[in-house]
Symmetry: C2
Subunit: 875 residues, 2 copies
């Protein structure tokens, strides 16, 4: 049989190390036991003890549910070594060895019995403890507590009778008389348990070990493992460690220390220390602890400078070994430092970045490790304003966190009103039940957006992310009464002009104006992202809608514009008037004039964009809106359009009706427009070519064709583009340089990627729409049921946030394989929202895409995540 | 060099046959030449002649564009045999052989020079013709016509000067003096052509042959071939045949005959005969021809009974050889029957069915051939009323023919009004811009439906086909003003109550009431379909919505109910009130009461359906409507619901708003409801189980889960179903028997079919929605651009009518392969509209589906098409 008991710790007498270093794996020793073994092996001061390996718990679960004699024998053999190292004897009345019994799973896991302290205390050994600590009150209190925890944790008795007794305990010198309470406890124990409290130290030990092993199979632990996918094997380890006492006078104490500041990441030790106290005292708040470092009175550094230096040295040793910030429990007994536990510290986002960069600088870890260490998901918090912590607040609603950051401002209920308020210098929060493409101007004007419907890739969410404005969608408790300029939620009414605060990072909406704090993006993040950019792998480009986005993308490190959406260039005045003239006019002259007007605006818009792109590659998506989006909606607009187009409002309405669609998502839009209105794309393409020639860009210009289902459609648009290019060549004397590509956003296009690649030089995977079509989940409505799906365990993640690797993922892989089979050097990118999600980026890396294109504020995350994906795949 | 000239026909002297039977292929001889060769080989009376093979036309096109000397020599050698057989000599003044020169492509093709008659006539041989026919007027008229056609067809001269001359021709005995006109023609010819009319018969012959060969490369012929995909090779054949003359007195004549009636299919010869006339006279209408058969004066049977009998014998011989009805041109010259051409007759739908059945009965063809012979697409016309032909009509609009048949009735503009009119005993025609699921009651009440938007699988189209009611959708010229109770189209206004006639077979809408004729479905179709059912292959089931559909399906030969849509059982009163109570009530009691009420209705509905199914397998689709479909819409309904549910209209509206979706197609519906409202499906399933037990059905009961995207969703519903089954088992003492299956209507479900098959015993391919999602074509809107796609050659067929074999087809094949890999005996069917399309059925046969399920009136077509697909695949 394999060895199941392993020693750790230092001899209190001569400092020799009990651990032989043969076993340091958390799989065998549990997290706690492994930490103790490693610290021992690193010659750090650890009280001696032994760990029973996880193998024992498997045997226990499948066996007799008692500590088998053969295991008892193995434990006792090793316990003798511990006794020797501690210079004390388990169960000995004169010089008793007391031990803690702790559980340790390979992964930290709630639901299990954690710790039983002071095992070995009984009517005889308590005297030895009095002698050792010089503190009778403490010794009897310890004995009393041990009886209580034994009753509770080991036997599962009701603790109420014990607790009732404490309230009526007699006092000596203003404190409870613990010796007398202990006597009462022993009586209560016997009454409740039906047997006397076990005075035999070994009997106590076996029972405590059994209780720990039993807790692995408790309902709570089983439920937790089932929910979190933690395997039942290898099981739980049990560590038995000689007790040390921080309450042994002024040269004793206890504390918790971090090897670096876990909030800021600053390379100084951080933690708290309480003199003449035991571990639980720091946590329970019976006294106020002092910082471990610093000049202040009561700090460990001041009180026990040698111990402090020893702790610092331990931190250095631990960081050198683990390469991570450590979170350490320690006790000082009579001027001697003992380390009781070490584990990786939980760091704030800022700290994790700073620590990674600093540690790489200190050559504790490599740059690659630094990159892999930072949590890309956490970066969001570093980039956006947040509500100041601990400020009292009134929650109005909770929805989906669609675009991070916080903002506060007066509520408006229409895109038009948002524009009007913005023009008056206000920063409105736009509240709608859902958003339409035509709300785009209002979305640009609003500083935050809140909707009662919609999901992570709803229109509002996509635009808001692009603009870096906070957005909460799908807040279904909101009853929005737009006509009444009010909404009701959680029994409160909010009217237009009332101020709310939106937290797009958490998805929460609060009443009134809450104080915000701006993020500090320090030099460490910049350094880390520079390292990330240097890792060969997927390129990161930016999704943009305006020239300002392009500038922002450059400053946030984009290597190109992966998607320039052109809808805004058509919806903003004065382009909108031309579009209306084009689709609502009867006469050929009026249409021609509208196209001319449009061409000038398009050329101007693209000129600005190309100047700002400054030589970066730029992929422009041809217009992808149903024509109905351009129709005048309000009565005023209809009348105005009728006047402008010299017709009647009734006629305008009739034409509008003929363009209306029951499902515009899959309607007459995208490249389908090119079949019926070829002039529209021709105008765009000509505007782009002329702009590129005017600017003289040396960057690659790509033209992306949206909503392609068939090679025939795409080829038709490609031919139209070539015709325009030829016209421009004849006018300007040289040919525009460009690549044509298709957006793969329909399942059929994914399947036909091999055909498309015959004429496409680039494919852009539009994973938002691809997800919508493949799963049949409407982007704007799915939030309503996706949250239930996640609650009920049907879905691990929102497929609009993190790519559905099985379904959509299969189509992505198929498209890439088929496209490359036709044209091995075809460029393939992703422009859906999932392109900015670290888990999805890992998938795209494996699938072999060339670039991801994300909204400007996601660039830092994507830069880090692409580097991590590349390093992970390489490793 | 291969032989390029082939003889045919009979010797006029001794009846010996010139054809050696070595070549009868249309690829070599053209259609006409092959017919002549086969008739000769069958010993039928064919005037002697020769055919120049298609190989010559290829050589001509790539060569010198003249009849090469070596070919001339080959022709002349064979012409000598023709002269010998005809007992006349080409170019001989005393006994001249005159010939026709005709073209014949392997496939009949317009755009080519067809025939030049009487080649060989000149100033000398005309006298011989006078002698032979005894008809000088005819002989000179023939010469005049030959000059004209030579000028026109061979030289391409302007014919106007010739025609002008005829109008001023001198007369003799009340008829034009053709001899004098001929003299004038010769002068006009020389003036226009610049050379005299060729008097040399051989020169005439080479020029005529060249003209025929030239016509193969004409612009018209090239365009036709390009459009219809006819290959340029092998080219055109030229047949040169001795002229015979039906105008040689009372024992002569000419006619066209069918071996059976081409309209009714009755097994009697059918055709027309004109005594003492030439072929062109029958067509040109200068005289009224008589029937060939019958007792009437002037019939061939009366006038020349022996010739008639010879013709009948020829028909029998030809049918025996070809196994198809033949369309024959014949001439009688002095009591001798000559056959000039034979080809397969074009038959009406009814005739094609009857002929196939009769011929199989006569053992002319096998039953398999009979099945393969009938055109499944044509059957539609046999099953629905049609507008009487040749009635004057005013076309109002043209849309997509969405459900065949014709109907006439007063126009209504709302589903409610249609119901009201139907209750008053009227047969309204429902006109809407588009239809919503909630219009279902109105669609049932209407006898025909017309929409200005929507495609072949739009809601209106699907329902109308299910009901067998005429339907025209996507009539985009219609400007529907529902509020104004009127529509305008082609400048005419139609108001509510005005009568229109809808032709759902052609997609046309006419003003006023047009007379209709009912179809006659004879016993022949029944016989043919019985034979079809006996062919092992894909089973045919029926898509149904009501109990009446189930009965209709049985009577039309369904082998099961492949899809029972249950939406109607929820939308019809009083179920609707319960549904509204369920989704709009706050209280648990009210909901429980609503579910109880619903259970009783569901059980009753399914009891009736299962009784009518009478042991056939039945697949019930669980409810697949967004909850918003059940919301009250009109103000009256809202007030009524508020009263019924004891709340306020404002509250009803607010709840409605919370259920509204921007894209209900992909919204909160189908199995997604099962996650949020599990009671709904549980009630359906319980109703079904209880009904099945009450009826004691011995047919397979299947439960189909709609809109499945993930195995997890499906498994959850399967578990819910099992739970209900267990409850029913405990109450009734024995377990209900059923199979659970998933509808594959989303691309992801197709990809995950292997996973789904772990718990699914049946998969139903919902190809309508699968097409919608895969191509991103909205079912209700796509018509607007799909017509343009087809016009511009981007799409061969509407993918909602005939399956897109490349895109959707790949998903179908993937789903079947993966499902069968998991569960080899899984049953797989198709329930989309394409299941009734013959071309799609062929695809489904190859893909390996077990059954197709179609709307009741498509059953005959599907039964035939599945048999054809099975026979074709086998063959």
């Amino acid at each position: 049989m394999a060895r199941r008991v392993f020693l750790f710790g230092q001899s209190a007498r001569d400092g020799t190390t009990l651990a032989d270093g043969s076993e340091t794996s958390p799989e065998v020793l549990g997290g706690k036991g492994a930490g103790l073994a490693i610290m021992s092996w690193l010659q750090l001061p650890v009280p001696p003890g032994l760990t029973i390996s996880t193998a024992a718990s498997a045997a226990y679960a499948s066996g007799s549910r008692a500590v088998a004699p053969v295991l008892q024998k193995e434990i006792l053999q090793h316990l003798a070594a511990v006794e020797d190292a501690a210079g004390a004897h388990f169960g000995d009345a004169v010089n008793p060895l007391l031990v803690s019994v702790r559980s340790g799973a390979p992964r930290s896991m709630p639901g299990m019995l954690d710790t039983v302290l002071n095992v070995g205390l009984n009517d005889a050994t308590v005297a030895g403890l009095v002698r050792r600590t010089g503190n009778a009150r403490f010794a009897w209190d310890s004995y009393r507590r041990f009886i209580l925890s034994y009753a509770d944790l080991v036997l599962g008795l009701d603790t109420q009778p014990f607790e009732d007794r404490v309230r009526t305990a007699p006092e000596v010198h203003g404190a409870p008389d613990w010796q007398q309470v202990t006597a009462e406890y022993l009586r209560i124990f016997e009454r409740e348990a039906g047997v006397p409290f076990p005075q035999d130290a070994h009997q106590q030990l076996w029972a405590a070990i059994s209780a720990v092993l039993e807790s692995w199979g408790s309902r709570r632990a089983l439920t937790y493992r089932a929910l979190h996918g933690v395997p039942d094997r290898p099981g739980i380890a049990v560590s038995i460690q000689a007790m040390v006492f921080g309450n042994a006078g002024e040269f004793s104490g206890t504390g918790v220390g971090f090897s670096r500041n876990p909030t800021s990441g600053a390379p100084q030790p951080f933690g708290e220390y309480l003199a003449d106290a035991q571990g639980g005292d720091v946590v329970s708040g019976v006294a106020t602890p002092h910082p471990i470092a610093g000049d202040g009175a009561g700090s460990l550094q001041q009180a026990l400078p040698q111990v402090y230096n020893a702790l610092l040295a331990s931190f250095r040793t631990l960081e050198q070994h683990f390469g991570t910030v450590q979170d350490v429990e320690f006790t000082v007994e009579r001027g001697k430092l003992w380390l009781l536990q070490t584990r990786p510290a939980v760091l704030s986002a800022a700290a994790s970045v700073r620590v990674a960069v600093d540690m790489a600088g200190e050559q504790l870890i490599s740059r690659e490790d630094a990159l892999l260490r930072a949590d890309a998901r956490q970066l969001t918090g570093l980039l956006h304003p947040a509500i100041v912590a601990n400020v009292p607040r009134t929650l109005l609603a909770k929805g989906l966190p669609a675009s991070p950051g916080a903002a506060t401002g007066p509520v408006t209920f229409s895109a038009e009103e948002a524009e009007a308020r913005a023009k008056r210098g206000q920063h409105p929060v736009l509240v709608l039940s859902d958003t339409q493409p035509r709300d785009i101007l209002g979305l640009h004007a609003a500083q935050a957006v809140l909707t009662s419907r919609g999901g992570a890739t709803s229109h509002a969410a996509v635009i808001a992310r692009g603009l870096g404005r906070p957005c909460v969608v799908g807040a279904s408790e909101l009853r929005v009464d737009a006509a009444g300029h009010r909404f009701v939620s959680r029994g409160r009414e909010v009217r237009a002009g009332d101020v709310v605060t939106i937290d797009g990072t958490s998805g929460e909406v609060f009443l009134g104006s809450l104080p915000l704090e701006q993020p500090e993006v320090g030099p460490h993040l910049a350094t880390l992202l520079e390292w990330a950019d240097a890792v060969p792998g997927i390129a990161v480009r930016v999704n943009t809608e305006t020239a300002a986005d392009v500038a922002r993308g450059r400053s946030l490190g984009a290597q190109g514009v992966g998607l320039f959406r052109t809808e805004y260039t058509f919806l903003a005045e004065p382009a909108l008037a031309h579009m209306r003239a084009l689709i609502l006019s009867d006469g050929a002259d009026a249409r021609r004039a509208a196209l001319q007007g449009m061409l000038a605006l398009q050329r101007a818009a693209y000129t600005e964009v190309l100047r700002l792109a400054n030589g970066m590659p730029l992929a422009l998506r041809l217009l992808d809106l149903p024509l109905s989006s351009f129709l005048p909606q309000s009565d005023e607009d209809v009348v105005e359009s009728a006047r402008a187009l010299r017709t009647t409002p009734a006629e305008i309405r009739a034409r509008g009706q003929s363009l209306a669609e029951s499902n515009p998502v899959f309607g007459h839009r995208g490249c389908r427009l090119a079949v019926s209105w070829p002039d529209l794309y021709a105008t765009q393409v000509r505007g782009l070519f002329e702009a590129a020639m005017d600017v003289g860009t040396d960057g690659k210009v790509q033209i992306l064709v949206p909503l392609v289902a068939m090679a025939a459609e795409f080829n038709r648009v490609v031919a139209d583009i070539a015709r325009v290019a030829d016209e421009v060549r004849r006018q300007r004397g040289f040919a525009p340089s460009y690549q044509a590509g298709a957006i793969i956003e329909l399942p059929r296009a994914a399947l036909q990627a091999g055909e498309l690649a015959r004429s496409a030089e680039v494919l852009s995977l539009g994973t938002n729409n691809l997800t919508q079509a493949t799963l049949g989940f409407a982007r704007d409505d799915a939030a309503a049921f996706l949250s239930r799906y996640r609650e009920r365990g049907l879905l691990a993640a929102d497929p609009f946030v993190s790519i559905d690797t099985e379904g959509v993922g299969e189509l992505v892989k198929t498209a890439i394989a088929r496209a490359r089979a036709t044209r091995p050097d075809i460029e393939i990118g992703v422009c859906g929202e999932q392109a900015g999600d670290p888990a999805s980026i890992e998938f795209f890396q494996k699938a072999g895409v060339d670039y991801v294109s994300v909204s400007p504020y996601r660039l830092p995350i994507a830069r880090l995540a692409t580097a991590q994906a590349a390093l992970t795949q390489k490793g």
